[in-house]
């Protein structure tokens, strides 16, 4: 196990008692405001000394209150992107970025200064002081600072919260590269389901200081119970997929999923690459027969396995398509009109472009999730 965390701590009116383990990859901490996410992350970083707890990263015990072990923060080699920036006001942006590099052994270093600056679009700010930066600029510098310390574990507390979509779209693939290319374990706090769906290897859902659920994102995202927490329109299935071929003419990529084939907007990876594809329940249309004359390109045969509670105006229909589960959200009326019931054969219709760039992530890990889930 890559990260192993268990802490118990009490503030005035709030108590946290949470434990989780996560393999390599990115572990997303998800939960409502005040659920204890930052508290947990602080304990991992060593900034909070919990009353009781154990933290280990890649086998090295960083905290064990019972055995009296508490590695000080500066020896943990944990990069932390704080929720509130915490840039050093007296240092220039360049000095802020370089701060951690100073203390990093050469052999541990990764990522070049120039590349990071380029990626984050902060090249023009290098000589400025943090005081006059805009909110998003501060956040980007904070990300760069943590990355350039070349940590062996990265903690990110809502790192993209105040960035614009375009900037997010630039940074997300970079985080993927860190996760997969470098194998850097990441603990990632976010309220954004698209981000988590795209990035997470493991999702830990916190509520009121307790771990309510944890597991591979595919399982959690497809769990209608959790829809209220995530915002209903974000729930859905995560499918493991493999690139079959590219169609350069239409700029589409054909994927193989267990239930058939999908055409999605071109993915920049060679055939054979394993991907994860998020299919939102809201995007899935169910049809009695494969439709014709429709702009929606994808149609997967599927079987209804379960129908969500009928007292809701909107119903989540669980399908199985190949080996994968999928979800479709439809109105109660459509359910009636199509006379859906468990066992019924249907076709799941999906627009290609419903699968956006941010719904497709590279993934070596999802396969594991697959096995755990079944």
């Amino acid at each position: 196990m890559s990260i192993d965390v268990g802490i118990r701590h009490r503030f005035g009116g709030f108590s946290i008692d949470a434990a989780f383990s996560a393999g390599t990859g990115l572990t997303a901490l998800f939960g409502r405001s005040g659920a204890g996410k930052t508290t947990l992350v602080n304990a991992v970083a060593g900034l909070l000394r919990p009353e009781q707890g154990r933290v280990s990263v890649e086998g090295e015990v960083l905290l064990d209150t019972e055995r009296g072990i508490a590695v000080p923060p500066h020896k943990r080699r944990i990069g932390y992107v704080f929720q509130e920036g915490r840039l050093f006001p007296h240092l220039s942006v360049r000095q802020n970025l370089g701060f951690g590099r100073w203390f990093t052994r050469r052999r541990h270093r990764f990522g070049s200064f120039a590349d990071t600056v380029e990626l984050l679009g902060i090249g023009h700010l290098l000589e400025r002081r943090p005081g006059s930066l805009s909110g998003g600029e501060k956040q980007r510098v904070a990300i760069g600072r943590a990355l350039l310390a070349s940590p062996r574990l990265l903690l990110m507390d809502e790192p993209l919260a105040s960035l614009d979509e375009a900037r997010k779209a630039e940074i997300l693939p970079y985080i993927e590269r860190l996760r997969d290319g470098l194998g850097l374990p990441i603990l990632y706090v976010s309220h954004s389901v698209p981000e988590i769906a795209r990035l997470a290897t493991t999702v830990v859902i916190l509520a009121d200081g307790r771990v309510e659920r944890s597991g591979p994102p595919a399982a959690l995202m497809a769990d209608p119970d959790l829809f209220p927490l995530m915002g209903r329109h974000e729930g859905g299935a995560l499918l493991a997929a493999r690139i079959l071929a590219h169609d350069p003419v239409d700029a589409l990529t054909e994927l193989e999923v267990s239930g058939g084939r999908l055409w999605v907007p071109e993915v920049d990876a060679p055939p054979g690459t394993q991907l994860r594809v998020r299919i939102r329940a809201r995007d899935v249309i169910l049809a009695e027969a494969p439709p014709v004359g429709l702009s929606a390109l994808n149609c997967l045969p599927a079987t209804v396995v379960e129908i969500g509670p009928l007292d809701q105006p909107i119903v989540d229909v669980k399908l199985v398509s190949g080996e994968d589960f999928m979800l479709a959200r439809i109105t109660r009326r459509s359910l009636r009109v199509l006379a859906l019931e468990p066992g019924r054969q249907v076709h799941a219709v999906l627009k290609s472009i419903a699968v956006g760039r941010r719904d497709i992530g590279r993934d070596e890990h999802l396969a594991e999730g697959h096995f755990e889930r079944s």
Binding site: A45, G46, L47, P72, P73, H74, K75, R76, R77, I78, G79, Y80, F82, R86, L87, F88, P89, H90, F99, G100, W102, F103, T104, R129, P130, G131, S132, R145, A146, A149
Partner: protein, 231 residues
């Protein structure tokens, strides 16, 4: 009007030297003490705090007398210093440095301590997560952030040292060229009828020197503060 006698010039030079060294030498200790008082949680914190303030509370003569008792050639510390390091303070300008430093110490410590208390520990924590140990964190984060306080403390100490009289003359007496600082010279002048003019001249010089130091420190302080201001 500023026609000083050579002896008076000596006193001026000596005063600057004494005040300068007193400030410089007590600075590290002042910072350390301020840190201890602001951050430390140890038994005897209250005592240390009281001790630091003592020279402020006591009439300077008393402080001077105590210094004499402790650091005189016959005093326990004084004799030890002389035997082991060959350092003599009594009747030397070094003693004047000690006396001024001690008199100025509470002012310096307070200023620095206020600055330390204003530093956000969250920034120090952030430095920790980036791999800086306590010492590095202090050098790269805390110290730069408290710099305005350090400068304020230093200038207070310098000004105080320039004006210190009671403890200095009691401890190291008044030896022209060795321990006769401006205040001693002024004191001597106003003890005799008609000495006012001389006293006035020396006072003017003293003010000029201290003001120059003050202005310089203000300028530096502003510069530093501007760099720090996270605004």
């Amino acid at each position: 009007m500023l026609q000083l006698t050579p002896e008076e010039w000596t006193a001026v030079a000596l005063s600057i030297r004494v005040a300068g060294w007193a400030t410089l030498l007590s600075l590290p200790l002042g910072i350390a003490t301020a840190l201890l008082l602001a951050r430390g949680r140890f038994w005897g914190r209250g005592l240390l705090n009281g001790l630091v303030h003592l020279p402020l509370i006591l009439p300077p003569v008393v402080t001077g007398y105590m210094l004499l008792l402790l650091f005189g050639r016959r005093g326990p510390i004084g004799s030890l210093l002389e035997e082991t390091f060959g350092i003599v303070l009594a009747f030397r300008w070094t003693g004047a440095v000690l006396a001024s430093a001690i008199m100025a110490f509470p002012l310096m410590v307070r200023a620095i301590r206020l600055a330390v208390e204003a530093v956000d520990p969250k920034l120090e924590q952030a430095a920790g997560t980036l791999g800086a140990n306590r010492l590095w964190t202090f050098a790269t984060i805390t110290l730069p952030l408290i710099l305005p306080g350090v400068i304020a403390g230093a200038i207070l100490a310098f000004a105080k040292a320039m004006g210190e009289f009671g403890a200095t003359i009691t401890f190291v007496s008044n030896i022209p060229g060795e321990t006769q600082t401006i205040p001693s010279a002024i004191y001597a002048l106003i003890q005799v009828p008609g000495g006012e003019a001389g006293a006035l001249r020396l006072t003017a010089v003293s003010i000029a020197v201290a003001m120059a130091a003050l202005l310089a420190s203000e300028a530096v302080g502003r510069l530093v503060a501007r760099r720090i201001a996270d605004r």
